[in-house]
Point group: C2
Chain length 321, copies 2
């Protein structure tokens, strides 16, 4: 089960001992963290995690938080970090460290729809996602429940559409319905209408091993009906890292990505040339690492971190020296 401990050029996924952590941190300016399963689970901080982040800040390291969750604004994340003891800026700068898919989707739409006089999006997602889009000037329609209107297919197709919708944005949407799917596909028949998915996660893990269906399931349904491929914002798509990079001016070689999922966090880090650390407080296990290492599939072989820790609290000894 245990991943390789020995050293050597090709060795991946070694335990990040205090000594190795000291060496790693000496070469690093910026640490990017996933949130759920890394810093906290639900409303409970991972023990020792707030202290580890406080010590990193004290050493002058720059921190960033990259999350695929599209259900919270930057401000809501900043407030949670503060509340659970992870610190970070407050006041008008609160949220500056947060790169969630709601915010990054807004950056993407601003980039792609910048020329449109009144950009408008049909949003399958939360009020928080809509709030981030509205903040960059994109008018949002469709948030909330949308029950079946009319009797039968023809009537469903006759339900009125908003004019000038230039993007369909699919995020986490507990109000997802067949009627919304129908409308999304109708907007997407306009080839110039963008299809954007906040992320492709198949599941959203909760506490105690429970989970609910993730945004990826909803994106796939829309993609299949529309026969279009969505532009994906979240990890492991490079776009979310480009957002951090642009705001932080990052040197990938001096940056670490810390996460609990091989298929999103670690793959993003590997793709973008960052150093990678898997923490075992969340979704992926060392068994998953091993089966990726042994896979004959190139895309899975990439999903192996440089290092692993039982918890990010394991960084503390290296910071207290």
């Amino acid at each position: 089960m245990a991943a390789t401990e020995a050293s050597g050029d090709d060795v991946r996924c070694v335990r990040l001992s205090a000594e190795r952590a000291r060496t790693l941190l000496a070469d690093v300016d910026t640490l990017l963290f996933d949130c759920d399963g890394v810093l906290w689970r639900g409303e409970t901080a991972v023990p020792g995690a707030p202290e580890a982040l406080t010590a990193l800040r004290a050493r002058g390291k720059r921190l960033g938080f990259i999350t695929n969750n599209s259900s919270k604004t930057r401000e809501a994340y900043a407030e949670k970090l503060q509340r659970l003891g992870f610190g970070g800026p407050s006041g008008p700068n609160a949220g500056r460290e947060i790169f969630g898919t709601a915010y990054c989707t807004a950056l993407y739409l601003r980039q792609r729809l910048g020329g449109a006089p009144t950009p408008k999006a049909y949003v399958l997602g939360s009020a928080a996602l809509a709030a981030e889009l509205e903040a960059v000037g994109v008018t949002c329609v469709g948030v909330g429940p949308e029950p079946l209107q009319g009797e039968g297919p023809s009537a469903w197709l006759d339900a009125p559409l908003e004019p000038d919708v230039r993007a369909v944005v699919v995020g986490f949407d507990p109000h997802f319905s067949y009627m919304k799917l129908t409308k999304a596909v109708r907007y997407l028949q306009q080839p110039s209408c963008l299809l954007v998915g906040t992320n492709m996660d198949n599941r959203l893990p909760l506490e105690n091993g429970r989970f609910i269906a993730g945004t990826g399931c909803l994106v796939r349904a829309v993609e299949m009906a529309a026969q279009r491929q969505a532009d994906i914002i979240g990890k492991p798509s490079r776009f979310i890292f480009d957002c951090v990079s642009q705001e932080y001016g990052i040197n990938p070689e001096r940056t670490v990505m810390v996460g609990d999922r091989l298929d999103t966090d670690i793959l993003l880090g590997v793709t973008c040339g960052l150093k990678t650390v898997l923490t075992l407080t969340g979704v992926s296990t060392l068994g998953d690492v091993k089966s990726n290492q042994e896979s004959d599939c190139m895309s899975r072989k990439k999903m192996v971190p440089d290092f692993y820790v039982d918890s990010i609290a394991d960084l503390l000894p290296a910071l207290q020296g």
Copy 2:
């Protein structure tokens, strides 16, 4: 654009002239037809199609109707065939010629859940689908709207489940919702609970080039969240042909499959060793055939029919000789 007209061993997709049709029909006992886009579009029969079927019946040919549509019972289809002039048995035998995915899903569940004392299924689908399942003794739960219950993920997961659900059946369900997806995935966490999809069609074509999202979009969402692969009943899955074969005692070499879709009807026919005829009154075009013929992908190369007709009315001259 035109597919090959010349003859030869490897030649596929030739126009079914009256002469070729006469030769073909002489070697054939049974003709299987898709319905929508072949016999009718919406509520309008394809001109000449009822006469062609009447002439085939008069020549003693056995007819069968294979449809992926899960929204109608066998009886409802038989009634539509009669109403639009296609004939067929009435009375207690009405529906005997119809192999729809609602009926065939019922056969599948009877086969797989036969040993269970009180088989029960969670049905994302129509009342007609449920009626076919109930007819073979499967109790159905879940049909109709299912709005979001409770505030937030934990509450959604706490919504009560029915005991002893042994299958999740995904058909065409205009009441599909995130809450239904959540429940489906919870039932499927029991590894013995079957996941059955009536079909994988990405779109359901309506009249005038309009379409709505097909059942496949809903199946994919459930598959992705549950991390399970569904057992698929409809075309191009072999199971639906096995249902016909079992009831009719079919000799594949003396059977023709007539359809308007290369990826379902024609692929089913090729897979099952039937003769295949594409009719151009529905979804697929000769351009689609050509790009399949020229594809370097083996799975697409298979989606080429032996013959094509502009409409099944083209069979008439061969039958009037």
